[in-house]
């Protein structure tokens, strides 16, 4: 009894590259003929599947979606960074470059302090130690006295 054909020989027969004696065996052996038919069917099925099947995976869409998500996340991240940076920059600008009204207030305050320090009978130490309200009250009372004296003096002259 002849040995049946190996898988490789069967495949070679399918490729048309088998030897004459192998082909002769194939013709006479029901078992090998059945295996050969099975090989042929398998190859047809595999080939058809690979031809028809667009891709092993319908992954283009999913991958693109992932890319979009990644891109959106990056853009959002950049946006957040830029926004945060803008807020910080605005705050730092406000500190370094104060508003005009703030400057005017500061100037008027400085003027008041200068006046206070230059007024007679008021020493810098007393101003620093004393309660600001008291000092201002004293200043205003002195001013009114001076005003009165000027007024009265003027009257006498």
């Amino acid at each position: 009894m002849k040995r049946c054909l190996s898988e490789r020989t069967l495949w070679l027969a399918h490729e048309g590259a088998a030897r004459e004696r192998d082909l002769a065996h194939l013709e006479g052996c029901l078992d090998c003929t059945a295996r050969y038919r099975e090989l042929d069917e398998d190859l047809s099925e595999i080939t058809r599947a690979l031809r028809d099947h667009a891709s092993p995976i319908r992954r283009g869409g999913r991958r693109n979606r992932r890319r979009w998500i990644a891109a959106a996340a990056i853009v959002a991240g950049i946006g957040l960074l830029a926004g945060g940076e803008a807020i910080l920059w605005r705050e730092s600008k406000a500190l370094v470059d104060p508003q005009p009204e703030t400057t005017a207030e500061a100037l008027s305050l400085l003027e008041e302090v200068t006046l206070l320090l230059s007024s007679p009978g008021v020493s810098a130490a007393s101003v620093l130690v004393a309660d600001p309200a008291t000092v201002i009250a004293e200043m205003t009372s002195q001013d009114s006295i001076e005003d009165d004296s000027i007024a009265t003096g003027g009257g006498r002259l």
Binding site: I46, L50, H53, S55, P56, R59, G60
Partner: protein, 181 residues
């Protein structure tokens, strides 16, 4: 002269594109396992085709030329470091059927035989994929495949048989599962 030559040249390129683009994209997809990459390869090939028109030797038979250039372009992509990196990164996604532990039972139950075979195909070596695609999908003879890939016929047969054996094994897995049901 040039004004007359250009439309003829364009018409021929367009005809070749219509005739071969789908085939080349499919070939690239099988070899690379990625639709998008395959489309990019096909575009690259047709750009080379325009270059070939301007070259000193214009091929007479464009079909084998296009196939060879496609295979070479696929190889270039595979060799490129960034592509390997990108593919490694995408591999679990691309081969989700296999890598995510989808069993033959699930694949068969979901009537996803095609996906199963395609995923199994992607597990073959690059050379086996090339050889199988050219022989069985493109319908080339083993002699032509050997010529296209610069291999000996014996080598082509060896790669081809291994590929067939592996894919039949994958098919059998599903078949036996169906038998159990």
């Amino acid at each position: 002269m040039k004004g007359q030559a250009a439309p003829r040249w364009q018409a021929h390129c367009e005809a070749l594109y219509r005739q071969h683009a789908t085939r080349l994209v499919r070939l690239g997809r099988l070899v690379l396992g990625d639709q998008q990459e395959a489309e990019e390869v096909a575009h690259e090939v047709f750009i080379k085709l325009i270059g070939a028109y301007e070259g000193p030797v214009v091929p007479i038979d464009w079909a084998p030329w296009l196939t060879r250039v496609t295979i070479n372009a696929c190889r270039d992509r595979r060799r490129a470091g960034w592509w390997a990196w990108s593919r490694r990164r995408r591999a679990p996604e691309m081969l989700e059927l296999v890598d995510r532990g989808v069993t033959p039972e699930q694949a068969a139950a979901g009537a996803e035989l095609g996906e199963w075979i395609a995923a199994s195909f992607q597990r073959l070596s690059a050379r086996q994929r090339e050889v199988f695609a050219l022989r069985y999908i493109e319908g080339m003879s083993t002699h032509e495949v050997a010529g296209t890939l610069d291999l000996t016929e014996g080598s082509v047969k060896r790669h081809l048989f291994r590929a067939v054996k592996y894919l039949r094994g994958a098919l059998e897995e599903i078949g036996s599962d169906r038998g159990h049901r």
